[in-house]
Symmetry: C2
Subunit: 190 residues, 2 copies
Amino acid sequence: MHANLISHIQKFIELDAHAIEMLHGYFKRTTYKKKESLLKAGQVCRSLHFVEKGCVRMYFITDKATEQITQFAKENWWISDYFSFMDNIPSPYFIQTIEKSEVLSIDAAVFETMLKELPQMERYFRMIMQRAVAASQLRIKYMSELSKEAFYNHFCTSFPEFVQRVPQYMIASYLGLTPEYVSELRKKKL
Amino acid sequence: MHANLISHIQKFIELDAHAIEMLHGYFKRTTYKKKESLLKAGQVCRSLHFVEKGCVRMYFITDKATEQITQFAKENWWISDYFSFMDNIPSPYFIQTIEKSEVLSIDAAVFETMLKELPQMERYFRMIMQRAVAASQLRIKYMSELSKEAFYNHFCTSFPEFVQRVPQYMIASYLGLTPEYVSELRKKKL
């Protein structure tokens, strides 16, 4: 069933058979085609999303009407607009699949019910969020420290799978580079 | 005693008298003079720090031997290098007071003990970390979207207290601007 989610949780906390059964009830599984939307700008982001299979991106539209990607997520990654989710306010983001994907989603009210009924999930989410904060600290360090070329090389080394699966123009958008520049860097690396 | 910390926690979860008493035992209070270090690059960040009074900054030294500030923290804010803290690895960061400060610190082992003895603290830290992730999402959006002038103006509007308390050259470092440019922008705003 929710095989990837359950094993991911079990990396952090213990789950008995009852908890596993309960967890199956809280999450809704949706199969999305390529380029389908989980969230559109202007909507409230009502769910936390866990990617069971596939690959998604989060982006917003800039003043210059271009797509600026801020995050990718693949198998076993969580993705959401957390301010929108917590404070029930419209999101500036789109979340869209890059490939055909299977996503487990939990909405805000069910999330609270789950945390009451299975309080050990507070620990899991505390650890997940703590790792996300750590990753952001590192990303902000790289954004302010690395040259564009070094930032691209670092991304390729850290996330080789995204480089394989994600179109080059999306990687350029994520890194704040032009597609032409990424194309040049790629040739240099070959 | 740890008045600010206790009220901060009580904004998120309920604490009975026993829990409050326990909490006093887990945290160590240190009074720092201006420009004292809580962490130096190369050391493991062994503690989570909560600013009871005062103001601190987190920074690293770039290749060009300049200080790049990545975070500020004032009263009721948490600050730490989370990867270093979680994975017990040397930190690239310095954490240093900007003013005379009082800081409550909890080290990794005591943190785990606290979470076992007061499991409701998992919820508090889950919520704190979730808000930190949300704030990072927003910051990354601004970093990739706003012009330097708009970024400065946004910072002044969002964090007027830092503009009052923190030397101008530190704000410039945080925003990735030269002190001269910030000085010009400041004149423009007056």
